[in-house]
């Protein structure tokens, strides 16, 4: 089932440049998609992507040729994103959420009309801590205890940060909805 990937990896382990190039081009778009969600902008996403691939190519020999290569690579890039989060914690921004209403409702039609690019822009505009937890919980389906363990925070912090992240997202969606209604 994974024979092609395994063959490709074996060739990479033999330092075949063509195979390394092939491996990069096979997984770069998907990993870039992940990095764009975890980075604050395209430049930051590039940094995460770069670090992820450096780690990947220097630890190829750690793959045990069991299970999916893609899942293993995804985990590497998630770790790269987590490292990015930890590195940037000291720069986390203060967000005033005092005026946010908890029960902001977004109209279903407005939600379905929103494009992927707009959603990405919303995620990228979140502070790094909110963004990381929002990605891990909402998109990657991690539980709070797993997030807490991976990020080195408490479950409570994970929950509160997710709540705040969601609140910010709702506010931005509402702003957009209002903008289009006015328009």
């Amino acid at each position: 089932m994974f024979d092609d990937d395994y063959d490709l990896l074996r060739r990479c382990l033999k330092k075949e440049v063509a195979a390394e190039y092939q491996l990069y081009h096979r997984f770069a778009p998907k990993m870039n998609g992940i990095c764009l969600r975890y980075g604050g902008n395209e430049r930051e996403a590039e940094d995460i992507l770069q670090n992820g691939f450096v780690h990947l190519f220097s630890h190829l020999n750690q793959f045990k040729f069991e299970g999916s290569l893609e899942c293993w690579i995804e985990r590497i890039f998630l770790n790269a994103a987590i490292n990015y989060y930890k590195k940037n914690l000291k720069f986390r921004q203060y967000v005033d959420l005092s005026h946010i209403e908890e029960d902001v409702s977004i109209h279903e039609d407005a939600l379905s009309a929103i494009s992927q690019d707009e959603l990405l822009a919303i995620i990228q505009s979140l502070p790094v801590g909110y963004r990381t937890i929002f990605n891990m919980y909402v998109i990657e389906n991690y539980q709070h205890n797993e997030i807490a363990s991976l990020l080195g925070i408490s479950e409570g912090t994970s929950k509160s940060q997710l709540f705040r992240a969601k609140a910010m997202v709702k506010r931005m969606l509402k702003e957009r909805e209002t903008y289009y209604k006015i328009g």
Partner: protein
């Protein structure tokens, strides 16, 4: 979850298969960082490429190279090893000859009579009868001792070939291969004077 969190579901469905081609510079930077760039081609790569484009197998060039190197080595080896010295003393009877000349001839014939004899070197015989030829290559030689006509010591002796021979066809051939030669050459008595 589908019903409870429509916003979350929207994000999840939008990014479940989200892919975007990264800029080309990511791969370029990666190559620099990980040294994934192919190493500069060395001699072997150039040689292989040359062989490929000339459509001649690498083995041919290798064989040719081995032959050339072998020939070159042999020539150098022979050149180094063909340097020998022939030295010795010339005697008029029991006494060393005082003054004269020693002539060395190279022989290329295999059998007598020596038709292809060429003059190789001439050396001066000193007051002690000593003569020397340096840097002599391998081969066959004839040695001719010519006494100085003014020398009193040589008046009773004639020019002779090595050893005690009046003519070259009956003389000894000096063979030089790997070692130097140290010779004692005796002149032939002048039969007229002796009578």
């Amino acid at each position: 979850m589908e019903e409870k969190d429509p916003i979350g579901n929207k994000f999840k469905s939008s990014f479940s298969d989200f892919e975007k081609e990264p800029p080309v510079r990511v791969w370029e930077n990666l190559q620099k960082e990980l040294h994934l760039v192919p190493k500069p081609a060395g001699f072997w790569a150039h040689f292989s490429a040359f062989s490929f484009f000339t459509k001649v197998p690498v083995g041919f060039y290798l064989s040719l190279g081995v032959i050339v190197v072998s020939i070159f080595s042999t020539v150098v080896y022979k050149e180094i090893n063909r340097r020998h010295t022939i030295r010795g003393h010339a005697y008029a009877g029991e006494i060393r000859l005082r003054n004269g000349s020693a002539e060395l001839y190279q022989v290329t014939d295999k059998t007598l009579p020596w038709d292809s004899v060429t003059h190789y070197h001439t050396s001066v015989i000193d007051n002690y009868g000593h003569f020397q030829f340096s840097k002599v290559g391998e081969g066959k030689y004839l040695l001719h001792i010519v006494p100085d006509g003014k020398s009193q010591m040589s008046t009773g002796y004639i020019s002779s070939w090595f050893d005690r021979c009046e003519n070259s066809d009956s003389c000894n051939v000096i063979i030089i291969n790997r070692a130097d030669k140290n010779l004692e050459v005796h002149l032939v008595k002048n039969s007229k004077t002796a009578q």
